[in-house]
Each structure stands twice: as C-alpha cells, then as structure tokens.
Symmetry: C2
Subunit: 391 residues, 2 copies
C-alpha cells in the first residue's frame, strides 16, 4: 500500500490514569469518550459513529463481561454494534485493528475503538492472578508462574545471549519516569534515579519493583474515519498508514526464541511494508514496556537497533525525549500506568498528540511519523501500527 | 446492497456438542477447525487463512483468557492475527460480524471465525455465576438475579401483555427436542412431550427445567472468503447477504420494553435491508432459544409473525421441521446445547448445512434463504445474519 492512509484518526480521548475510587469501568470509559467527543465538535457521536470495538482484558475485576454494550450505552452510543475484543494486554491494539477492518469494509464510515480496565480496587494478589489468565493455563499458570516470572525468563536469556545488564533495564525506568513527570495524565508523575531502581525490591530476578509497570485504572479511545471524510471533522487528521497484528504460541515452552517476540517482528514487518517505511523513518514511538526489559526487546524486534544491541541503544540516550527517536514519551506502561485493556489505544492517543503538536511539555519537535507496539501476554499477540501526521 | 454477497462461506465445522471430559477449549476448537479444513480440501489453512476471530464468553471456566492465540496455535494457524470477541452469548455472532468486516476490508481475503466454550467441568452454580457476568453487575448481579430470572421477567411481561401461555413455551421445547433427535451432534438427542415439559421442575416462574437451554461443551467455525474467490474453493458456497448487529442497555431496568428486544429488531432491520428481503422470504432459521420464551419473542422481533402472536405461531406448527418456516432445525440451544461462545457460529453451521443440502434427516427441502439470530446476555447484544445458498 506504500503509505496510503488506511483510516484517519479524527479524535482521541484518555481518562486520567491512576486510582479512580468508586467508578465502574463503563464510567471510566465514558471519560475517555467525552474527551474525544469534546475535541471534535463537528462530530455528532450518536449520529455519526457506526460501531465500537473496546479492549477489555478481564471480566474478573468487576465480575462484568459484555463490556461493549455497557461502554456504548454509558458513552451515549446506545444501539450501535459494540464488541469487546480481548487479546490480553493487546486487547485495545486488537480493537484498533478490528476498527480499521470495519472502516475499510465500507459498512461503517466512522467507528470508535478503545479500551478500559479498572484494577486498583483489587489486591495485588488478585490482579496478579487475573493477569495470569493471559498465559497458558495447563503449562504455565497451573505450575505457579506469573507474568513477572515469564518475562524474567526472557530477560535472563537476553542477558546471557547479549550481555544485557540490569542497569540497561533500569535506564528504561529512569527515562520513562522522567517522561511521565511531564504528563499530567500519568499515574506516577515522578522521577526516579538509577540508584533507586537498582535498589528496589526484587520481584522476579532480574526484574525489580521499578522494572515493573503499574496497576492502574484507565481508559482510552480513538475515533477512526474513512480518509475521505476526515477533513470534514478535523484540520489535523492523523493517518494510520500501517497495521500489523500477529499471534504466537501462548506458552513460552513452545517458542523458538526467548530473546525476541516473533509476533512483534511479524506485526512490525507487515506494518512497515504497508506503510512503505523503514525503522529509521520512525520519529516517535510508544512501545509495550510492561517490564523495562520488554522495551529493550522491542527496540530489536522493531528494528530500531541490531539484535542484541538494545542495551547499547538505551545507554546512548537516543530514545530519550530529546534523542533521535524518543520512545514512550507518555511515560509508557512503566510510569504512565498499564490499565491493561486500555493500553493499546492509550499508546495511539500519545502518538496522536505528538503528531498533532498537542503533547505540550513532552512534545517531540516536528514529529511526523509515529509507531505503536502493543504486546499481549508474554507475546502470544502483538499489534504494531504506523501513523503519519498530515497537518 | 440488495442481496449482493458480502462474503461467501466456503466451509464450516462443528464439534460434537455435549460433555467432553479432559479437553481444553483450545483442543475442542481444533475439532471444529479440522472438520472445516477436511470439508474443503482445496484450502491450505496455514497458507490461505489470514485472520481469526473467535467468540469465547468466559475466562473463568478454564482460568484462560487470550483464546485467540491459543485457538490459532492449536488449529495449525500459528502466527495469524487472532482476536477473541466477547459479547456474552453473542460472542461468535460478533466474531462472524468482525470477520465480515475483515474480508470486506481487503486486508484479509479468507478468514476463520468461530467460537468455543468448555463448561461442563464446572458445577451448575459456577456456570450460573460465570454466565451472570454478562448481565449488569451493579444493578442486577449484585442483587442476586441470574439469567433465568431476567428472562422470566420478560416472559411474565409477555404473558401479561399478550396472553402467551406456558404451554406455548413448552411447545418450543417439544419441537426443538424433536429436531435434536435427528441431529447426531446434538447434546440431548431425545424427544420430550408436552406433559414432561409442563411437569418439569420450576427454575424461575414461568420457566421450568425444560424451558432452559443446556450447559454444554462445544465449538464451531466458519471459513469466510471474498465472493470472487469462493468458487476456487467450493462448488457450494453459501453467501452472506445481510448482516446486522446492535446493542442495548445491559440492565433490563433501562429498557423501553420487556416484551421484545430492541437490539434484535434493529439488527434484523439492518440485515433485511441489506439483503433486500422480507421476513416472509426466510425459509429456515436458527434463533436464540436460550429459554423457550426467547424463541417466541424472536418470532416477533424478526417479523415472522405480528407482535403478540408468537404463541399462535408455535401452536400452528409452521415452525416445525415440516412447516412453512422451520426454526431451529438443529435442535437449537434448547436441545442441541448452548456452549455460549460457540453458539452464534453453530447457528451459521446449521444454516450452511441446510442451504447446501447436507442436513440429512433434518433437511428442509429446497431451502435457499436462511437466517441466524444470536442474542447476547438478556439482549444487550444481538446479531442477525441472512444467507443464500447459490448451489
């Protein structure tokens, strides 16, 4: 397709990420929807929006499935086709992909995609258990391993293969916390230094507390339109020019490699080819740093550096806000927070802000091409999207 | 669109419905996939199938989310984009709709859609609780109501408004059990008589044991292709010529009516308009008889009879196998079984068999136009599809 817009983003919304006491997920989602609607006054949501796809990872948090209909109703969109998508932490990356299909199908010219998760009313043990449902039950969960353990296995394999260090990982946390300190919607708007990260409590060696993303309440949404319609609604559409999604074995024991994610590599290849772009063309990216190590692995899977060199890339400073390729300007899952179902389209929200010059203190100057990288579980799903600012 | 094929069904598969001890859902789904692959020898699944959407309602049954990737892997489709859709008992109706978007989008010329649920290893109390997650948590579940109670409210309102009787409902059970006795894949292949239904134990008045569908293990899948490609794979494609999906308030307390489902009426209207057809044109239908009363309500929502006259329609015998409009020739959710995530595309499977002359003892003679009606929860989602046999 070589850069032809698949669909246009005409608006986007994000709830504050953090702890929202006394709110149901459906209410939280309506905050994100309201921002998207307010941002696009020419949109008449009830009239114009023809379908919804919403990422929601866990029924267990609120004992509530059927989130599509609930979120549609609470957002003032009663009646539209509304489907929940679930692909673990890539649930809203999958919603975005599904929304792109819907717009391209010709059956729906404008759709809302997004995601939501309400997590903080549960204990850490409960959340850990609910998240673990996205790993392999008979071969992983049953034996007691949870996600920090699974990603620790991968981090250890990468350290062994490429001499990646705990300090390399810690620098991801330092960078992303700095970015979050500039993001008023981030869950943890505070800086951390390398010593604090390195001294934080062990979770699953080599991953420590500050290597782990946050348990967060949050919601995000994106309004997609047929490219021909976009200018009717906004002077600043952002074009989605590449979309890739792929799956892999759910259990790590079946994978070819523990040091990269085949799903992410496949999804990236598809998205780059569709966009007619190369990794060097990307000017700002949001990647899936559920653990600091995963940001490093993403640099390699996305072609931002050669295999095994992600430690070197983070040390170079090039992925900092002022670097050549700023990564996770929002603060990432690490510090902005990781309301799992909402994360994929929250990444898109940040890229939307960056490519329309609305990212305020964390604005990347003249950014025109952005990328999002959303991973489900330990990598059994990945969705990669590439964006172009046309304003 | 007036009857132009949206997509073509080139194959379909269904596991035996019933009790499958010692199988995981992913394995059960592979049985359905294998039948679909075997039925279409020109298909090379790994090469040809570009995406999967799989309906799966409850993570709780197996403590397993992320079913898209698991099912893709276990069906030999490792690597393809695979997304779980969830819209309660309409989860695979929503998967079908999502697959139609995907094929029409031009990004995927052949896709597999389906659904799976593994339920019978859980107690009835557990299943009742997991199913209830598809109703409104704060306004329904929290107060102890479960699905038999919600549908009993509707049945009671319908009895009050239209003098519908318990005998009318019981006749749905008698009809569907007869049909299931002719279906070797049905869970309960036995006839029941009116007296047995009327004498069965109360569940939630007026609904008795034999008014309720079954807790069942099962999986279903459908292979969709671009219409231009279909003839390359099969001489007997079935065309999907109408597709409607709609949402409604999740809680009954917010509905305009308790005697009809607005979501089903909207979805049906969309599907009929797209197909350029009227209710009278339908020659065979699978409707969502999670409770016998819901089949009656569907007759009215789908326009098979005037509002309030569904009791009369079932009494007329016209919806029996040898009638003018046979409904639930498979045995329906009532007697074939209701593995919730699998039900939507299991309905499509039956229509596929009917329109290709493969329904054996329950074949409807010369059936060319079919319809499926899949309801999620107490009606917060509905998906209606219309099919044409072209062979």
């Amino acid at each position: 397709m070589n850069g032809k817009p698949l669909v246009s983003i005409i608006s986007a919304g994000l709830s504050k990420f953090g702890k929202h006491e006394g709110l149901y997920a459906r209410e939280l989602f309506s905050y994100a929807a309201k921002e998207a609607f307010d941002r696009c006054p020419k949109l008449e949501p009830k009239r114009d929006i023809k379908a919804m796809f919403i990422g929601h990872m866990g029924e267990a948090y609120e004992h509530q499935g059927h989130m599509g209909s609930a979120a549609a109703d609470w957002s003032g969109l009663l009646g539209i086709p509304a489907t929940r998508t679930e692909a673990a932490c890539a649930s809203s990356g999958a919603a975005l992909r599904s929304g792109i299909y819907a717009v391209l199908s010709g059956l729906a010219d404008i759709v809302i995609v997004g995601g939501v998760e309400k997590m903080t009313h549960r204990t850490t043990a409960e959340v850990t258990e609910y998240l673990a449902m996205a790993s392999d039950y008979p071969f992983e969960q049953f034996h007691g391993v949870t996600f920090p353990g699974l990603f620790a296995l991968m981090a250890t394999a990468h350290m062994n293969a490429y001499s990646t260090t705990q300090e390399n990982m810690a620098k991801v946390a330092v960078k992303n916390h700095h970015n979050a300190s500039l993001n008023p919607k981030a869950h943890m708007q505070k800086e951390v230094n390398l010593e604090a990260v390195m001294a934080s409590k062990p979770v699953a060696w080599p991953l420590k507390m500050y290597d782990c993303s946050l348990i967060t309440d949050g919601a995000s949404c994106i309004i997609l339109a047929k490219p021909e319609l976009a200018k009717k609604y906004t002077d600043q559409p952002v074009q989605i020019i590449g979309s890739g999604q792929a799956s892999d074995s759910i259990g790590l024991y079946e994978r070819q490699s523990l040091t990269s994610l085949q799903s992410a590599k496949t999804a990236a290849k598809t998205a780059y080819e569709m966009a007619g772009l190369k990794p060097d063309d990307i000017q700002v990216a949001e990647v899936h740093d559920c653990f600091t190590f995963v940001e490093l692995m993403s640099y390699e899977d996305l072609g931002f550096c050669p295999v095994g060199k992600s430690g070197k890339l983070i040390e170079s400073g090039e992925t900092q806000l002022e670097g050549r390729l700023p990564v996770n300007t929002s603060g990432g899952l690490k510090a902005k927070g990781h309301p799992v179902g909402a994360t994929g389209t929250a990444q898109t929200y940040e890229i939307y802000l960056q490519l329309t010059g609305q990212a305020d203190k964390r604005q990347v100057k003249d950014a025109k091409i952005g990328l999002t990288h959303n991973v489900g579980g330990s990598g059994a799903t990945a969705a990669v999207h590439i964006y172009r600012g046309d304003a």
